[in-house]
């Protein structure tokens, strides 16, 4: 898998708790372009975390990302805030797109919560370029809103900003009930907010294919049911207990699977599936790849049935 070496050329704290980085090729060359809503998986001092690209994806010479410090997390965002310095080089995967705009949409209704504004900024840049109609609702904690200026500039001030949750929910319900035919909804933010927005839309008759969301984490990954995995190359069967990942179980039995993030975002631990039905829990595979059922991400995904067969 191709990686990029990226030089940190600038870093700012636009609002408390958020650090925005500008990244460029060390030799100043053009960087790979990307579809709006794409993210980079960056190695952050032992962690590999995904960060949405907030810059323009057309012929970029630099990338920007904005990172919220999660003080009690595993340390990736803390490292970006406290360790990483301008002039240092980070390693990243090529931009990956799981949250693209639908070009045929008559209108794009964009809903952002907190740091979830980052892919929405990218959508708004593309919407401006392609003159797409948008409507934006952005809810954030007073004084903590990242990219508020960008969102306002990219919508000529039309974006609706909310700092009161109840008021946001009421406004959202009205907005979802009053969109022209052909509108697509995009939502990114805390898991509970995404669920609320999607449930409200479903309740208002929105078909699934009009709903698009990006989740920043797998906060409630349950331990899962135990299952058996048969390695067809050797004929051995390995038990994967509840609470142990498939990746860990394979490692324990001496099977090396390349891996990096161990949180379902980088794509490194993808293994083929020969039989059985995967229970996908990653944030890497596309919906189509998940539906195909012929591969899974061993670090987070499991088996939907009692057993799986993998050609390892």
């Amino acid at each position: 898998m191709t990686t990029l070496e990226l030089l940190v050329t600038a870093a700012v704290h636009p609002v408390p708790g958020i650090r925005s980085l500008t990244l460029a090729a060390p030799d100043g060359r053009d960087l790979p372009g990307f579809v709006p809503g794409s993210h980079l998986v960056i190695e952050c001092g032992g962690r590999s975390n995904a960060y949405s690209l907030t810059s323009d994806g057309t012929a970029p010479t630099s990338y920007t990302v904005s990172v919220l410090e999660v003080p009690d997390g595993s340390g990736g965002s803390r490292w970006v805030h406290r360790e990483l310095r301008v002039g240092e080089v980070v390693t990243a995967r090529l931009p990956r797109s799981l949250f693209p705009p639908v070009a045929r949409a008559a209108k794009h209704l964009l809903v952002a919560g907190g740091i979830g504004v980052t892919p929405i900024v990218s959508h708004l840049r593309a919407a401006r370029t392609w003159r797409r109609e948008t409507e934006v609702h952005y809810v954030f904690r007073e004084g903590r809103g990242a990219h508020v200026d960008d969102v306002l500039a990219l919508t000529d001030g039309a974006a609706e900003l909310h700092t009161d949750r109840a008021e946001f929910c009421a406004r959202l319900e009205k907005a979802l009930a009053d969109q022209p035919l052909g509108t697509h909804l995009y939502v990114c933010g805390p898991a509970a907010m995404i669920d609320h927005v999607l449930d409200t839309a479903r309740g208002l008759g929105w078909p699934e294919s009009r709903l698009h969301c990006e989740r920043f984490g797998l906060d409630a990954l349950d331990p899962g049911d135990p299952f058996d995995v048969t390695l067809t190359a050797t004929g051995t069967t390995v038990r994967v207990p509840s609470g142990t990942s498939l990746l860990e179980a394979l490692e324990t039995s001496g099977v090396d699977v390349p891996n990096l993030c161990r949180q379902g975002v980088c794509g490194e631990c993808r293994i083929p599936v020969a039989a059985g039905t995967p229970l996908h829990r990653d944030l890497f595979l596309t919906e189509e790849e998940k539906a195909a059922g012929d591969a899974l991400m061993a670090c987070v995904s499991r088996s939907a049935g009692p057993s799986l067969e993998v050609p390892l």
Binding site: G57, T58, A103, R202, G205, S209
Partner: protein, 190 residues
């Protein structure tokens, strides 16, 4: 490097080459927040289906009934367009009539942004269809079925109607029944 229009998109499943009509009028989708029922033509079957849909839909959510004589009529067309423009996401559009008219209503609804999950249709008959002539490059209503030969109402050529419904045109494709193939992109032969 230059990027063109982003290409990663939700790609709809390939359209079936022939419309697959339900044997009975489909049920009203209870998850909608409004309905637009479009009835084209005056025959009793159309009126009956539209009436049953409206009776059911009205009890669930605001319902608009649009009754048209012919989709091709400019006044009728304007009424349909206006109803679709007024419609909000959450709507379900339900069309009933002869095959030609139902396909025309579905095409208009798709052009207005509707997707399959928002559309339901029932054909009272399949005696006619919208046919796109590959030579005069226009869509005509003809009383014929796929596989049959007709004289093009536009250019008077004898055409074979192919068993292929083209979503983008909202029509069945037809071409010169006596030529070897379709005309090339440079257009019609004399």
């Amino acid at each position: 490097m230059t990027l063109t229009e982003p290409v990663t998109e939700v790609v709809p499943p390939p359209a079936p080459s022939l419309p697959d009509w339900p044997a009975d009028p489909p049920a009203v989708d209870p998850s909608a927040t409004s309905y637009v029922v479009v009835a084209v033509g005056a025959d009793a079957g159309t009126r009956e289906v539209a009436g049953a849909w409206v009776a059911d839909a009205e009890g669930r959510a605001p319902t608009t009934l649009v009754v048209l004589d012919a989709v091709a009529d400019p006044r009728d067309r304007a009424e349909l367009t206006e109803a679709l423009e007024r419609a909000r996401t959450g709507v379900r559009v339900m069309a009933v009539g002869g095959q030609h008219d139902v396909l025309a209503v579905l095409t208009a609804a798709r052009d207005a942004g509707a997707i399959d999950a928002e559309l339901a249709a029932y054909c009272t008959h399949t005696d006619d269809l919208p046919m796109y002539c590959a030579h005069c490059r226009a869509t005509h209503r003809v009383e014929a079925r796929p596989g049959e030969e007709v004289t093009c109402p536009g250019c008077a050529r004898v055409l074979e109607i192919h068993a292929h419904f083209t979503r983008a045109l909202g029509s069945f494709l037809a071409s010169d029944a006596h030529a070897a193939g379709l005309p090339g992109p440079t257009g019609a032969r004399p």
